[in-house]
């Protein structure tokens, strides 16, 4: 087990490095010149050249990458072109807000996904299975920005139950665990939980239905164990897969909520990315993508380490 964890950690290093390279290069692969955003298009050539030197854009690409990486590991992600504030601070605030939203939405989605999926799998072919399948298809296929808008129209505009925008009263960007802030969380969390809910329901349903036909479950029945005990066995056997899917879903929620965060003006990473794209704010873009990718790598690492604790066969893979 110790060597397994060590090996996983070592594997994560080249992945993380690859991620930094790609997030660095992505911005250069995108069309357009980053300087267009700062300098007016009719700016004199000397000004452009001076700006290039100031932002380090005159150096060869590998060197730019090296310098960027060196600063990044020290926590310096540069300065936002649009706001002039340090990127690291902006990203950190956004990550905190997104963690709150993604955490709550993910928890709701995973919990109810497991519940619905287990019920549907246990009674597969029954009416509860059909309802769960219907819900999961809807969850996966409804465009969530559209769902967000519909919820806003119904619950904010018509009923005025929940606020439509922001993470707190008065457009505050600092998250607090109080009633006023929680009210802001309701609609975006519901909107966002629908995707993991659908996917996890489907996964758990298939796993449980398949598991119940397996010889070992029949053997557990033959031993005279109670349904509750058999459920415990089935749950432990499905846990590694559910964990892997949940980890991926949480990763997607961290960055994949661009549209939902924009609809609700939630000051998280998605919102930040969206703003940075329109402002061509390359340091912010790079920094945000980098941090999100690191989250993904870390989540996968955590899943990889937990899985063999549940199913020891996986430590040999």
């Amino acid at each position: 087990m110790f060597f397994y964890v060590l090996r996983r950690l070592l594997y994560a290093i080249p992945i993380a490095l690859g991620v930094t390279l790609i997030s660095f290069l992505l911005v250069y692969l995108a069309p357009g010149d980053p300087l267009n955003a700062i300098a007016p298009s009719d700016a004199p050539a000397e000004t452009i050249a001076a700006l290039k030197v100031a932002y380090g854009l005159d150096k060869p690409l590998p060197m730019q990458y090296g310098l960027w990486l060196l600063r990044a590991v020290q926590g310096d992600l540069g300065v936002s072109i649009a706001s002039g504030r340090p990127v690291a601070a902006e990203v950190l605030t956004a990550v905190r807000n997104t963690l709150v939203l993604a955490g709550i939405a993910g928890a709701i989605g995973i919990f109810f996904g497991c519940l619905l999926g287990a019920l549907a799998g246990y009674w597969h072919g029954s009416w509860i299975d059909r309802i769960a399948t219907f819900l999961s298809v809807i969850g996966v296929s409804v465009p969530h920005y559209w769902l967000g808008m519909v919820l806003t129209i119904i619950f904010s505009t018509w009923l005025a139950w929940f606020p439509a925008m922001g993470a707190g009263p008065g457009g505050s960007a600092e998250w607090l665990w109080d009633y006023a802030h929680m009210r802001h969380l309701v609609l975006p969390a519901i909107t966002l939980c629908v995707i993991p809910l659908g996917i996890i329901t489907r996964t758990v349903r298939a796993l449980v239905a398949d598991m119940l036909d397996q010889e070992f479950v029949i053997a557990l029945r033959a031993r005279g164990l109670s349904n509750a005990t058999i459920f415990k066995h089935v749950a432990k056997n499905t846990a590694p897969t559910v964990l892997a899917v949940s980890g991926l879903q949480l990763g997607y929620l961290m960055g994949g909520s661009i549209l939902v965060e924009t609809v609700f003006a939630w000051p998280g990473t998605g919102f930040l990315l969206n703003t940075a794209i329109f402002q061509r704010d390359i340091p912010v873009l790079q920094g945000t993508i980098l941090i999100l990718c690191m989250f993904f790598v870390a989540l996968n690492l955590i899943v990889d380490i937990i899985q063999p604790l549940i199913d020891p066969r996986m430590a040999r893979a």
Binding site: A222, R223, G224, T229, N237, P312
Partner: protein, 329 residues
């Protein structure tokens, strides 16, 4: 029937699968078994032998099976048990060992945890007593270094060790009836013999009754007192081992015996029964074996023979029984 009540009696058991794949798996199966007896259920795949075993524990999905008949084990009307009584019956009165021990253990719990769990489910003992008993059972099935194997996961043991552990688990609650579903089929030949010897030894020691399902006539002869040959979901012939081997009366039994491999046949092609087993979704109206039988008559093709006890041996506790219009004399 003898004066002593048999431990197991199965009467006119019929079973049909009504789900996606419809099949008449069992038709009018009757047999009985006394305490301490070993019955071999012999037949090829699809003959109904495994279905019979699983029905004895009611393991088939109730939504997709239709069962009629009567099963009594140790005075319990098995088909009428409520779910609580069924749980108490499974694993304690009657327990089962499976063909593939690798598939019949939960892969994410250790061998020891699973044995302890069964003991705790059936007996009012504390964890340390159960653990002690589990270790004792592992010793008893001759697993070397039982203490280490106790904490091993199923995938960490060899096939033979896994089957031994499965036997330990099945016997942990001292069942009166052990159902063995081809327990040696998935094992190497040398390990097969060890497991058979172990089973026979444990059976003698505990005095439990065993129903041993196999398609391997050699294994059946090795372990059973009596053999019931099944074909097409029916019992074709039942007799003491010696009777079956020396004087098979049913043409199918004779065919099975003829198809065994032994050294005197060296160099000659293997003898087999022509044709293939009947389709259980569409059984012929007469004797299920008639299409493959060399001595089949028109009567065989239209009328199914019922199982009849041999009048010559009516004084025995379990007289030979046969379902054939034209038995071999």
């Amino acid at each position: 029937m003898s004066a002593i009540k048999p431990l197991v009696s199965v009467e006119h058991l019929s079973l049909a699968f009504t789900g996606n794949r419809k099949a008449q798996a069992l038709t009018d199966v009757s047999f009985h078994l006394h305490a301490g007896e070993v019955l071999g259920l012999l037949g090829e795949s699809g003959s109904g032998k495994s279905v019979t075993l699983r029905t004895l524990l009611r393991l088939h999905s109730e939504r997709t099976t239709q069962i009629s008949g009567l099963i009594t084990v140790d005075g319990l009307d098995v088909l009428a048990l409520n779910s609580r009584a069924l749980q108490a019956y499974r694993g304690a009165t009657t327990s089962m060992i499976f063909q593939e021990p690798g598939l019949a253990f939960d892969p994410v719990y250790t061998i020891g945890q699973q044995i302890v769990e069964v003991i705790l489910a059936h007996e009012a003992v504390n964890h340390s007593v159960a653990r002690h008993r589990a270790l004792e059972m592992l010793d008893r099935v001759q697993i070397p270094q039982a203490r280490r194997r106790f904490d091993a996961y199923p995938h960490e043991l060899s096939g033979g060790m896994r089957q031994r552990a499965m036997i330990a688990l099945a016997l942990a609650c001292k069942p009166k009836l052990l159902l063995a579903d081809e327990p040696t089929t998935a094992l190497d030949a040398t390990v097969q013999i060890q497991i058979l010897l172990l089973l026979r030894e444990l059976q003698k020691e505990t005095g439990m009754a065993v129903i041993f399902v196999t398609h391997d006539i050699g294994a059946a002869v090795e372990i059973a007192d009596r053999i019931a040959v099944m074909y097409g979901g029916r019992i074709a012939e039942e007799n003491a081992v010696a009777g079956i081997v020396q004087h098979p009366s049913h043409p199918y039994t004779a065919g099975l015996l003829g198809a065994t491999v032994d050294s005197s046949h060296r160099g000659k092609p293997l003898i087999s029964i022509p044709g293939s087993p009947p389709n259980l979704a569409n059984l012929p109206p007469g004797c299920p074996f008639a299409p493959r039988c060399t001595s089949a008559s028109d009567q065989c093709r239209t009328e199914c023979p019922s199982v009849v006890e041999s009048p010559a041996h009516a004084d025995l506790a379990s007289p030979p029984r046969l379902a054939c219009w034209h038995p071999i004399r």
